[in-house]
């Protein structure tokens, strides 16, 4: 048995559109241990969702391609696995919670049938009655009365739908949950509830999770490890404490922190990060954030390696090299 549940090495993902090639993920390394929670942080278009979809090999067919690297999930080489093997793993070994619960459920199937479906696929040996009982159990687990399983998605509110999506994702007790911004589409009050629910169930079932979000607050609440992504690259990696309680962050992460409103400080205006995300259709050699970075120097035009600033906390930036040399 591998020590790590998920190992991604040097992953590259590209999208081919009619107009251009989009380099969505560029040489990403990532590890998730059994039962561990990893936060994947970054703004829209940073390649977070592409990474998650690559893990279960569900990039949009004919448009998104894994062009390099390796993905090993629970000891299985996901890039070499047969379609059949992949199918048997989707939903059972790794499952996904999608961003928008409004569109993630099939409008013409009852919610009960949609939960039952995943159980039926992965537990064909069990009787229908047992599976139905499991559906009831799952619905109660996510806080929806089981007698509503004959209803259709449009009869539920957004938060309720997300609970159903979570029930589907957890029904087969997967080893890994890929939660793609599970709370973004929901009201703030429901967001907290939903995170609590996911976290609680995850702890109870011992499931590992990759939580994709652009909300650092969410990461602080739930994650042990954090990866910050920018323009398809990991630019910072460490434990939650490393990143939240340090002075040596990547300038981009710093910018993200400054963009969070602080209750204890009187400030008129939030600091935004100037400029736009690097053009994803162009391959850049040096630091992708350089154009927006106020610390940028000539050195940033060269290829940047990941470097450790403190134990277990690594960043892809040369800003602190000098300081460390001085110490």
């Amino acid at each position: 048995m591998h020590e790590k549940l998920l190992e991604i090495k040097d992953l590259s993902v590209e999208y081919e559109t009619e107009i251009s090639t989009v380099y969505a993920v560029n040489g990403l390394d990532l590890e998730v241990g059994y039962g561990e929670t990893l936060g994947l942080v970054g703004e829209t278009g940073a390649g977070k969702t592409s990474t998650a979809l690559s893990v279960i090999r569900l990039l949009p067919e004919g448009i998104g391609f894994v062009t390099g690297g390796s993905i090993t999930l629970d000891g299985v080489d996901m890039l070499a696995a047969s379609e059949e093997k992949l199918r048997s793993m989707r939903g059972a070994t790794a499952s996904m919670i999608f961003q928008d619960p409004m569109s993630a459920l099939n409008p013409v199937m009852t919610v009960g049938a949609q939960i039952l479906e995943v159980l039926k696929i992965h537990h064909p040996e069990q009787s229908k009655k047992d599976l139905e009982a499991r559906v009831d159990e799952m619905m109660e687990l996510v806080g929806i009365p089981a007698n509503r399983k004959e209803e259709y998605p449009h009869q539920f509110s957004g938060g309720m739908k997300q609970r159903i999506v979570i029930a589907i994702a957890l029904a087969c007790e997967p080893k890994l949950i890929l939660a793609d911004e599970p709370t973004t589409a929901l009201d703030v009050t429901i967001q907290a509830q939903m995170l609590g629910l996911i976290n609680d169930l995850q702890k109870r079932l011992g499931t590992a999770m990759i939580l994709i979000t652009h909300d650092l607050g969410v990461v602080a609440q739930t994650c042990e490890k954090v990866i910050v992504m920018y323009a398809g690259e990991a630019i910072e990696y460490g434990s939650a404490e490393d990143i939240f309680e340090t002075d040596m962050r990547h300038p981009y992460t710093e910018g993200l922190f400054n963009a969070i409103p602080k209750l204890n400080e009187e400030s008129a205006r939030l600091e935004a990060i100037d400029g736009m995300m690097a053009n994803p259709t162009v391959k850049i050699q040096g630091c992708r954030f350089a154009d927006r970075c106020k610390h940028a120097t000539e050195r940033c035009r060269q290829k940047q390696e990941m470097r450790e600033v403190s134990k277990g906390h690594i960043i892809r930036c040369c800003l602190y090299d000098r300081q460390q040399a001085n110490v």
Binding site: L58, R87, R90, M96, N106, V108, E117, I168
Partner: protein, 316 residues
Amino acid sequence: MSSNLLKMIGKRIVQSCITIVIVTLFVFTLIQMVPGNPVANYLGATASAEQIEYYTHLYGYDRPVAVQYISWITGLFRGTMGQSISYQSEIADILLPRLLVTLSMVVPAFIIGVLLGVFLGILAAQKRGSWVDSLISFFSNIGVSIPMFWLGMMGMLVLGLKLHILPTSGYVPIERDPGDWLKHMIMPIIVMSLGVMASFMRLARSSMLEVIRQDYVTTAKAKGVDKKSVTIKHQLRNALIPIVTVMGSRLGTMVGSTVLIESLFVIPGLGSVMMNGISNRDFMLVANGVLIISIFVAVCNLVVDILYGIIDPRTR
């Protein structure tokens, strides 16, 4: 069936009735706009004044317009449609048997066209970007652009005149000789079904492509559902919703196009009798034909709405 569905059906029946009433008003008003006396129009310049007066009185055209309209409408409830000037008999007796002839051609053509069209459209969407898709899209584009009468003529030319497989035109009642009836019906049915097939291919393809990129399809795949089940359980049922919606009006269009097919293949159906009415300037006959077709369309739309309610739980 839930009470909501029943309520919806009730509401739609009332709506259809209103539509039909407006159609009767509409066609009746249009007939009144034809200049001159309808009897004189039919009899032509050679008719004597007495003749015209006699027939005008006989058919009731000397009554006030409102009275004519009311007597037409009340007649409809008794199953009469008034007298045809050109056929000299009750219009319902002329039109209804011919409606059956028309439907015996339209219904099979429609079923064949829809089934094949939807199947091929889905196939094209599944294999989007491949040569199968190009081929299907190409034929559906041509199919919706071909004039039906021309296609019919080409059928006659190739299958009838060159290959001698099928009769070029004509009609044999089914009760006289079912085999011969079928032989005469094959070509009109094929020609009509090709047009419907082409338009349903386009519709099914685009509707399927729309569904393919929906999030719930990814959800299903992420559950480990196999390709066939994704297509059937998750995509097809959702893709059918817009397809079902247009079925009613497409069936109506098809009944309309029988004027072309029946004129071309010399089939004594509703379309050809309406063409006779037009060339004889027997507008009451034509107006009743239009009414029958619109009632047929309304009924089809009602059936479609019920089907729609069954397929899409959101309408319940």
